[in-house]
């Protein structure tokens, strides 16, 4: 595939890539409900993506809650509204910041990993070899990975939100003398079903987007080892952009059904 030069060529290439990715997604939905199901590989991928991202998510979430609370304190103190800290932080983290930040972290960690792994398999013709040996490489490599990210990301986000709230509670405890019991009582008073449910639902879409872009970029990798790097890089960039588009749409949908 030659490098597009003119604006028209670039536009065509852009739409062609989106179309190709859409068809790739369609193929995923076609394969996901069709046997044989690769449960073992799915569990292995869940372990790889979920368990191995735990440390990153925990550290990021903790620092996120800590810093967010530290930065918000002075402004709330100006209004004499420190008691609103718990509700404000919890709503911000659970509704928006937690899912988006954790998803971006996972896009970097998981999306690039998938892109590089599948890209190198493509370059070294392992995928072709699987096809020759009668194994469906799409089912084994793509479906399991997309499913694994889609299932693991909500769990990672819930964990990240919790750790972020703990970080926030520690700051409140040290700076404001608020007990952990009071802080979490205020958090659970502030949070409603309409805050948690849409935020959790959209993380499934985030996970799907990360998995889809990562596998698409890796599966369609070309040009040798350079292509592997490009696949890994563009997987992160596209996935991150797609996350924000999904988040944008999710906010509108949530606004309609839950009246933010």
């Amino acid at each position: 595939m030659s490098q597009p030069t003119s604006f028209l060529d670039r536009t065509k290439s852009f739409f062609a890539e989106i179309g190709d990715m859409t068809l790739f997604a369609g193929r995923f939905f076609g394969e996901v409900f069709r046997s044989p199901f690769e449960f073992k590989e799915l569990l292995r991928q869940c372990y790889n993506m979920g368990n191995r991202s735990l440390f990153l998510v925990v550290v990021t979430g903790f620092i996120l809650g800590l810093v967010f609370t530290l930065q918000s304190r002075p402004t709330l103190m100006q209004f004499g509204a420190e008691s609103w800290m718990a509700s404000m932080i919890s709503l911000s983290i659970v509704r928006e910041i937690g899912p988006v930040i954790i998803a971006l972290i996972c896009a970097g960690r998981i999306g690039s990993g998938i892109g590089a792994e599948l890209g190198s398999m493509k370059v070294t013709e392992q995928i072709d070899a699987m096809e020759v040996s009668g194994t469906n490489p799409f089912k084994y490599l793509v479906v399991t990975r997309i499913l694994a990210v889609t299932l693991m990301l909500p769990l990672l986000v819930i964990l990240g939100d919790t750790i972020a709230l703990i970080g926030s509670a520690i700051v409140e405890n040290l700076k404001g003398g608020v007990s952990f019991t009071l802080y979490f009582n205020q958090v659970f008073d502030a949070l409603k079903f309409s805050d948690v449910f849409p935020a959790t639902i959209k993380t499934f879409f985030f996970g799907f987007a990360i998995g889809l872009v990562g596998t698409y970029k890796g599966y369609n990798c070309s040009k040798g080892t350079v292509g592997v790097g490009e696949a890994s890089n563009s997987a992160v960039v596209y996935a991150s952009m797609l996350l924000f588009i999904i988040d944008f749409i999710a906010v509108f949908v949530t606004d309609i059904f839950f009246e933010l």
Partner: protein, 321 residues
Amino acid sequence: MGKTTSKKIRVGIFVVVGTIILVGALYFIGSRQHIFTKNIQLYAVFDNVSGLQLGNNVRYSGINVGTVSKIEMTEVGKITIEMTVEEKAAYFIKKNAEASISSDGLVGSMVVNIYPGSELQGANVVSGDTIQTSIKVSIDDMLSTLRATNEDLSKISNQILMGKGTLGVLINDTILAQNIQQTLVELRKTSEGTGVAMAKINQIISKINYDESAAAVILSDTATANQLRTVFANLKTSSEDINAVTKNLDDYIKEIKSSKGALNHITQDETFVREIDSTMIQIKEASEKLNQNMEALQHNFFFRGYFKKLERQERREAKEN
């Protein structure tokens, strides 16, 4: 490959356009809440909408029933707002309902509150109706009133601190405080004394022989009570009679004072009294002179025989006795 690429491009264009349309539709739906429910339009005219914005909630008795869909200035100082209200909620809104604009919490956004009218059995509103409005006291008004109150309180507290006025004296005057303390001590003693006195009275009452004593007769004998009642009735009658007599006397005295009779002259006219006085002196002098004349007559020879005859008769009567 070419055919496949054109297919991919078509799909890509479809996805991008579809996404843009989806976002546009979601924005449209989001900006026009309650689009899936049947709505009616209600209007209200305010002098001041206090920062009300399009999309702010409309509440009926505290329940969200719609949104503000239009705000426009219709004439000088009059702002008409259009509210999109759910039709099922409009069933409960009567024509005499009142709308007011208030803040959703201290720092919250503005909301339009519709309150049920006083006539709960009145006709329901229909789309296009303009409902009455009432002006709520704004936070600015409250703060300005609070400021005035604070200034007054500050003046009062200054006066108190300076020891002016009753409260100031009460708080600052140590002598008064000592006096009050002393008074309280005295009051306490008095109350203790009263308590002791009451205990003694109780003892006395408990010692009364209800069968034979006078108190018992007064308290328990009905015949005596009747007699007492009669006595009191008589006393009452007597006092009424005395009153009547007193009144008559009073009238009589008034009449004497006001009339031109001799008594009035005697009591009121000093000249007359002095004349009477001088007359009496003259009469006294005249009677003394008459006595002297009578003495002289006794020694006159024309009347001497008569007086001797009287002496003899007196002597004779004395002998006989």
